[in-house]
Amino acid sequence: MATEILMPALSPTMEEGTLAKWLKKEGDTISAGDIIAEIETDKATMEFEAVDEGIMGKILIAEGTENVKVNTPIAVLVEDGEEVPADAGQSAPAAEAAPAVAAAPAPAAAAPAAPKVDQSPDWPEGTPMKTQTVREALRDAMAEEMRRDPDVFLMGEEVGEYQGAYKISQGMLDEFGSKRVIDTPITEHGFAGIATGAAFGGLKPIVEFMTFNFAMQAIDHIINSAAKTLYMSGGQMGAPMVFRGPNGAAARVGAQHSQDYAAWYAQIPGLKVVMPYSAADYKGLMKQAIRDPNPVIFLENEILYGKSFEVPVLDDFTIPFGKAKVCRSGNDVTIVSFGIGMTYALEAAEKLAEDGIDAEVIDLRTLRPLDYDTVIASVMKTNRMVTVEEGWPVGSIGNHLSAYVMTHAFDYLDAPVLNCTGKDVPMPYAANLEKHALVTTAEVIDAVKQVTYR
């Protein structure tokens, strides 16, 4: 049976090429592996080997021909004694089309359909409460999950014998031993990779970064290994793990130790990103993060570690991801924030109330998934929005929310959305400059007054 030899694609980007030279002529016997032609691609001149054996029946494209499309028949191979079919080379140059698939579902329509808002309480009414610091809440969350699931372990610099650089893992080495509370050398890229491998192996690592600034050493494993593997493996395996540690500015620790990574990680499909404010949220969301089958980035804050909040006294208490919290309801403006940004948002709302401006304050709590519905519902009510975060302005969470609100609730806006962010500079060390680099309550108040035209 006659076989068509097609113009090959010899580089990932090649669409056509020049048939530079034939090394076999009509009538020649060809064995598989023989070099039959030289083809010039956009990058190089390549030798073209025969795959099939037979006799060169007919050359369809003369040597020297330029712009030969990939998959064009260039010659016909026949068996001994066989005639070249009359229609040889008439078939269209078409790659075998893949079978049609159902169209991908379109992203959510841009209609401001009444958003579904879940503002159910995070714990049953009447639950007894206790006062706890964020630090204690975090430790309790990890310890409870480690008691519950032997596959959970904690790994990081100074988490064991030193009791945690910021004392988050205090007492955990004593309770769980060095098999499950593991001190590492200062080798972030290595141990983040090892933990990710352990997660592929079915364990549930909690990786503590002494601060998220040092996770930049490890970001390749966080994104390329942990976040993408579920997808790349077609759903066979992923990385059920938590990367956690303090994020953002502490106090006067300078440019290399004061960066907010919220927007960076929130950009990555495959990661979940949590950035809580209150101790109850730290606890409920950390427990949720450990149980989540995906890599979770858990962004803590050193300044909040020592802050006390009311935490429910419950044997088991989790908060679902993607559920924002309306911390203060109001009618005049929506202030959206998360993490330490809530400090400024809430303080501004208090002060604005004195001026007769009734602000609604939303704590996003998780940035991926993000509770768009709660934000949209609030903006539909107040018609104005101000976002507050500590990170840099370009490509910020506030930018993203502004775009989302513009797309989905344009007709409800009475003023442009304003983003309050850290300044677009590396963090300076000097006390006076650092104050100006950070977002402030005064700036939030100012922004609210602008959008409310006061």
């Binding site: 100074e158 050398p185 600034n213 006067r252 620790v253 060390y429």
Partner: protein, 329 residues
């Protein structure tokens, strides 16, 4: 190779001994003052003192010539003073004032001086190692015989980028001296708790890099080993590793409770191995200096340090528009 005993002790001149004494004492007193200012709230954030490690940088700086470069970690005050940077400018950077080396924008961990070829002051553990090799690359590229000293800690020695750098530095014969300041702890983690390969200089062998262990409490031993390393590098033979065994007396930073070692351990080191006391004793027993001579030096140093503190307190905070400068060249 075990630490060599300095052979040349007897031939060290009086001037040399006096200059080591002065330089080490300046660092010690400066750091004590910095600790005090931190306690008063005049210095903020992280502040890592060099007390105990003075002989390392003073011994190695004695091997340098104009054009040689240095780069280190956040524990950088000593390095800056030893390479001749002005105490006022360093202290004012610690207080975040306009008169500081980075106009107050860098802080304790991030200072630089182009004039003195001091390339920082880096806060990310291990980052200065490839940077140091890169500085050496620039000298080799230009064809001069300068060398670069890349200082890093025992903890940093476990970072992967160190080994990527070793490989390229030897491959390309870069004139860089890798100075491992092994003060035995990385924060609260002792060397033995972070590696089973505790001969840190020996790891260079896998890459073909020569190295040796040095008694870092003896400035003379450091100087002697430094000369060997410098000669090797200047001759175009590629990198060299000095693992300098030293000890930090204070906590990792000002906020370290230091429960990972005993008080006795620190006390013993101070009493038996102190680098400044060793030189002081040599000066006195060799009749190179009298108690009175040394008191005079002590007083000079105290004056320099007090003046730097005064300068650092009175130098104004940077102007607010400094926030927006130096982001792009």
């Amino acid at each position: 190779m075990a630490a060599r005993k300095p052979a040349a002790q007897a031939n060290v001149s009086k001037e040399e001994l006096l200059s080591y004494y002065r330089d080490m004492l300046l660092i010690r007193r400066f750091e004590e003052k910095a600790g005090q200012l931190y306690g008063m709230g005049l210095i903020g954030g992280f502040c890592h003192l060099y007390i105990g490690q003075e002989a390392v940088v003073v011994g190695l700086e004695a091997c340098t010539k104009e054009g040689d470069k240095r780069v280190t970690s956040y524990r950088d005050h000593g390095h800056m003073l030893a390479c001749g940077m002005d105490a006022n400018g360093v202290m004012a950077e610690l207080t975040g004032r306009e008169g500081g080396y980075s106009k107050g924008k860098g802080g304790s961990m991030h200072m630089f001086s182009k004039e003195k070829h001091f390339y920082g002051g880096h806060g990310i553990v291990g980052a200065q190692v490839p940077l140091g090799a890169g500085l050496a690359f620039s000298d080799k590229y230009r064809g001069n015989d300068n060398v670069t000293f890349a200082y890093f800690g025992d903890g940093a020695a476990n970072q992967g980028q160190v080994y990527e750098t070793y490989n390229m530095a030897e491959l390309w014969d870069l004139p860089v001296i890798f100075v491992i300041e092994n003060n035995q702890y990385a924060m609260g983690t002792s060397v033995a708790r972070s590696t089973k390969s505790t001969s840190l200089y020996g790891r260079g062998e896998a890459y073909g890099i020569k190295g040796e262990e040095v008694d870092g409490m003896s400035v003379l031993a450091v100087k002697e080993a430094g000369e060997r390393a410098v000669a090797h590098c200047r001759a175009g033979k590629g990198p060299y590793i000095l693992e300098v065994k030293t000890y930090r007396y204070r906590g990792h930073s000002m906020s370290d409770p230091a429960k990972y070692r005993t008080r006795e351990e620190v006390q013993k080191m101070r009493e038996e191995r102190d680098p400044i006391e060793q030189i002081r004793a040599m000066l006195l027993t060799g009749s190179h200096a009298s108690e009175d001579d040394l008191k005079k030096i002590d007083k000079e140093i105290k004056d320099i340090v007090n003046e730097s503190a005064e300068f650092a307190k009175t130098s104004p905070e940077p102007a607010l528009d400094e926030l927006w400068t130096d982001i792009y060249a």
